[in-house]
């Protein structure tokens, strides 16, 4: 009953399996976010000579949960001058795509958790662009100068890095001959190498663009607390704020999954079970993000924009052309 992916026609039990799969992914997503935040605080704390959260639960393991509960019982303040409807709606608009992209990430070889879409990679890129609306509208609806600048910058940044991100995938698609993420994993397993090797340039572009797309240091301009105080979510409180945070960390997880799938062979790997390999690769990505955050200062907004268009985009195009030419003449 678990194998609903090829079940035709779909029986009731298959459907139940599907719902269970979705619920499990939701639970995994929320769990990963909770403990990513915890791990981030711990790892960055360790890198800074601190011990990180340690008061709630053993080793502070319940810290993030305590934070969530705190946010849930916080008053929900909507500023008087804000555009109420959009203000309330913006976090939801931002959140939904962040969860939807998880539908196509192949977590392991055979499981009921992945939609086997033929347009998988494009689906991810297309949906992640919708989050920009939420961020932008959130900043606009707050009717606050910092929030508006933060929202606009955020949108401009995410737009700018969406392009190299999308183009860096093309090299992988060229090699695998499919947009389907499952096929890409299998093509890597067949070819015997992870695409990080032949697509190293593409991988670098992807990594930089992904970091920027996730609004993480050194590209965390939108929420630059030392300039814009907190960027687009300056006016958000309680659980609405939590949804913006949830969105960011879900994307961190999803982007890690995407990177593992496209460049690191997804769930393939020797000895260990597939899901564990996948988890290791995703965590490597997440750890790298923490590491960057502990080290880097923030890039300036004009440099940020020109970097995307003047460096990353040409590099991505170059990578694409080289891959295509090599593929055409080698095969």
């Amino acid at each position: 009953m678990w194998d609903w992916q090829n079940a035709s026609p779909l029986t009731g039990l298959n459907f139940v399996a599907m719902v269970v799969g979705a619920v499990v992914v939701l639970a995994i997503g929320l769990g990963v976010v909770t403990y990513t935040i915890y791990a981030e605080r711990k790892v960055i704390g360790w890198m800074q000579g601190r011990i990180g959260p340690n008061r709630v639960g053993p080793f502070g393991l319940l810290q993030s949960i305590a934070d969530i509960v705190k946010l849930l019982i916080k008053e929900d303040v909507v500023p008087e001058r804000a555009d109420r409807v959009l203000f309330l709606l913006a976090p939801v608009i931002a959140f939904i795509p962040s969860f939807m992209v998880l539908a196509v990430i192949p977590f392991s070889a055979r499981h009921p958790f992945t939609a086997n879409l033929a347009v998988g990679a494009l689906y991810y890129i297309a949906l992640s662009a919708i989050t920009i609306h939420g961020v932008m509208l959130g900043g606009w609806a707050s009717n606050n100068k910092y929030a508006l600048i933060g929202g606009m910058r955020s949108a401009a940044q995410m737009l700018s890095y969406e392009v190299p991100l999308g183009l860096s995938l093309v090299g992988v698609i060229l090699m695998a001959g499919s947009l389907n993420l499952n096929d890409i994993v299998e093509a890597q397993a067949r070819s015997g190498w992870w695409y990080i090797v032949p697509q190293f340039l593409g991988f670098c572009v992807f990594l930089v663009a992904a970091t920027a797309e996730l609004n993480r240091t050194p590209f965390d301009l939108p929420e630059a607390e030392s300039e814009l105080v907190a960027g687009y979510h300056v006016e958000y409180t309680g659980f609405r704020f939590a949804f913006f945070m949830l969105t960011e960390y879900l994307y961190l997880f999803a982007m890690g999954g995407l990177m593992a799938t496209l460049f690191l062979g997804g769930w393939t790997g020797p000895w260990l079970p597939g899901w564990l390999w996948f988890a290791i690769k995703v965590f490597a990505f997440i750890f790298f993000q923490f590491w960057l955050r502990a080290t880097m200062p923030r890039i300036r907004v004009d440099q940020l924009m020109s970097f995307s268009w003047k460096v990353l985009l040409p590099l991505a195009l170059l990578n694409l052309v080289v891959t295509a030419v090599l593929k055409a003449f080698l095969s």
Binding site: L86, A118, H133, L137, W140, M152, A155, L159, L179
Partner: protein, 176 residues
């Protein structure tokens, strides 16, 4: 309703159509321009769902990427760069508006009559438009084997649009 087969795709289609129409009506009846932009995003997403329902996965994803993603953002930026609080005045029953409304309703009725009067093909059962490929691959093959010239014209169109829009939108340096 009128002898429709209540298959799951049909139900999905009805739900999606309802979403599209509600969003479309909202898109032209809200007063705040930014709400209109948001509602039109709903229409775009609904259309994407219709395409996917019809098996045109790639066009559906393209619709989300270009329309719901890029174009809606562009519209929002345009609103934020002009008059944020722009509002449509409440519908005034001017002659022009009434004429437009009557004309549109008449057009709709005529179109509906035409649609009803014809018998439409239902697609060859079992015909696979993708010829055994996955949809994006099939679209790619069609695009690059049969539509080479239009494809290159697209790049020309894009570059012309880019240049034109840059010239129009760029602020002159002396304003700084």
């Amino acid at each position: 309703m009128l002898g429709l087969a209540w298959t799951p795709p049909m139900i999905a289609f009805l739900v999606i159509s309802l979403l599209i129409l509600v969003c479309a009506i909202m898109a032209i009846s809200f007063r705040k321009v930014i709400y209109m932009a948001l509602a039109i995003g709903g229409v775009f997403l609904g259309c994407a769902a219709v395409y996917i329902l019809l098996g045109a996965e790639f066009v559906g994803a393209a619709q989300i990427l270009i329309y719901a993603g890029a174009i809606t953002i562009l519209i929002m930026f345009a609103i934020m760069l002009t008059n944020h609080e722009a509002e449509e005045p409440p519908a005034a029953w001017s002659v022009r508006n009434i004429a437009a409304a009557v004309g549109c309703v008449l057009l709709g009725v005529t179109l509906y009559a035409v649609i009803r009067s014809q018998s439409w093909p239902h697609g060859a059962a079992g015909a696979d438009v993708n010829q055994g490929q996955s949809n994006p691959v099939a679209v790619g093959l069609a695009l690059f084997q049969h539509y080479t010239v239009p494809f290159e014209l697209v790049s020309l169109l894009l570059i012309v649009a880019l240049v034109g829009a840059v010239i129009l939108a760029q602020e002159r340096k002396e304003d700084e």
